[in-house]
Amino acid sequence: MPGPIQSIQRAAEVLKLLAHGGAHQLSVGEIARALDLAKPTAHGILRTLQEVGFVEQEVEGGKYRLGAALFQIGTSYLDGNELRAKALNWSDTLAMRAREAVRIGVMHGKHVLVVHHVFRPDNSRQTLDTGALLPWHATALGKALVAFGEWPDGDLQRFTRHTLNPDELAVAMNEVRDRDWAYDLHELVEGEASVAAPIRDRRGVVVGAIGISGPVERLCDSPDQPPRLELVSYVREAARSVSRELGGLSW
């Protein structure tokens, strides 16, 4: 059996790199440097990808970005804006039931990208943080995503004395996989907690997570206890409803 085809591997690396850049575009030189490729090699790959519409340039000789053909391919790619549109009703309902702020996150490189945010329904002054990045290892959203995906490399910053170390995190992730929901307790901010559950697409793949966050006094029965099961059930029900909306569940 022949081994992996190097040029396809390299092309995939280029696409991943451009995807992680988001709206930020990259030049041939930047791509070559980032992937440790010779510039002519990088150029050849980009030219081929351009021919099939997977990457594009604003102007001849300019920087590269992902092409429109990629947007149309496949079920494997769920647009964050699409996820927000599909989740709108269910995230609202979750915020009303739990009386807490709701966020929906997807993995973006090593971080959780907030694609949707619903204010806590008390009409207090709050700021929309759609587009913000959160650390995955200290949030329920991130744990719910990573437990069913790839463990991102890189150091895990310690935010509080409760932030989990890699060993504790590995144990926690097993629990998340068993229970199908995740929580954080003082791990990002002292005195705050969060609960989240995974959202699945029609193939059962986790494509996002939905959750609530707020002060420990409101979410937990006592400061060292996981969030109340009533709140957990609201979060899981919302996750199931969004999954159903995506065709991920038939009931």
């Binding site: 709206a23 604003e58 970005r65 429109a68 947007f71 149309q72 647009d79 964050g80 804006n81 699409e82 927000r84 549109a85 599909k86 709108l88 009703n89 269910w90 609202d92 309902t93 915020a95 009303m96 039931r97 945010h117 619903v118 204010f119 329904p121 008390d122 009409n123 709050q126 700021t127 929309l128 759609t130 587009g131």
Partner: protein, 489 residues
Amino acid sequence: MGYIAAIDQGTTSSRCIVFDRSGGIVSVAQREHRQIFPKPGLVEHDATEIWTNVQAVVRDALQQASLTYADIAAFGITNQRETTVVWDKATGEPVHNAIVWQDTRTDALIKQLGDQDRFRERSGLPLATYFSGPKLRWLLDNVEGLRARAERGEVLFGTMDTWLIWNLTGRHVTDVTNASRTMLMNLETLDWDPELVAAMDVPREMLPEIRSSSEVYGTHEGVPVASALGDQQAALFGQTCFAPGEGKCTYGTGAFLLINTGDKPVHSQNGLLTTVGYKIGDEPAAYALEGAIAVTGALVQWFRDKVGLISSAAEIETLARTVDDNGGAYFVPAFSGLFAPHWRSDARGVIAGLTGYISRGHLARAVLEASAWQTKEVVDAMNADSGVDLTTLRVDGGMTANNLLMQFLADVLDVPVVRPIVAETTCLGAAYAAGLAVGYWPDTDALKANWHKAAEWEPSMEPAARDKGYRKWKKAVERTVGWMDEDDD
């Protein structure tokens, strides 16, 4: 009896949403129906298909939440407005496809009826192809034998609320909000106006009885059918805009800004419509001023279906974010003329400012920005008519999921844009009105307590950029008018 089921018979689909007492959504079911385009400018729906879909979505929504009819305290109805259907009283068969609000076939008839403001005093509306009365007249003139059958009382006229209530309960009624869009109702008396009916030349016998928006019209499967509101008025109700000066803008196929003006109709000097906001049982009616924009979400749909650069409406934001601005391109989607504040049926769409620099990303931006600039035009008209400047815009509808648009809207209006926690205010309004009628909710204060802010976008655009953008937008609008000629169909 724990829930209220709202039926939303919309332009592209019919939906049923089941709500609980806090206004939270319990289940949603939806079915799209066919858009029938016999010729450019003509849009029809099959009313029988719609009735079948409505029955199906009610079943689906109940089933999803494992509910039976016994769990439902009332049905509420909200509907696409102005869409006109005539059916046989004995068989229930429509005599023709329903003529949809966007349809411009009555253009010649409108011109023939005379000055644009001829019926404005009585009906609150300018003469335009948009409204139901002229559509009914077209059917009477063009469906063979229909006028004679109408005079013999064999056929009935209705907007979609009437069609559904007749099928659900057997009664031939409409509500004041839907009736206020026919151009046949007198705004003061809230009854069919003999002069308007005579001028439009339609037989009085085929018109439904006009009732309030919130009362029990009849029952279906033992459940009271207890509200009817045109979709925009339902959204006003769902946003709990019960006090004069409170208003909202709903972004769907088109966009509609409505402001509650209290118990007196206010006549616009700036191209807005005067309409009924709602009427709860025997209480006095609340009137509203309305800025109607024909094409907002429909432009995104067009971009998806006819241009094909995106495969879902939400992806337009992704595409638009590949660039930083519109690159100088402006898209005025006057697909069926311009509605408020211009009311020009001779206008057609324009993409202005095209250069070789413009990419698909710029076009996506221009598509989204069109919704915001059109809103600015009606907000300006609203401010001029009321003499008071809008300080916050309450928004709802599917397009509020589009962050880029909501931010741009705050930027061009220079006021905060606020989304309530239930974006589905149209269905919520129908549910609220039905729930009030059967005592599920005690009063409007209880409904107001359910309103919460779910998101807020603050303006952050430089005044100079806003002024320049608006100037260019207005120049683009100028380029759309007068496109249609006498010999155009």
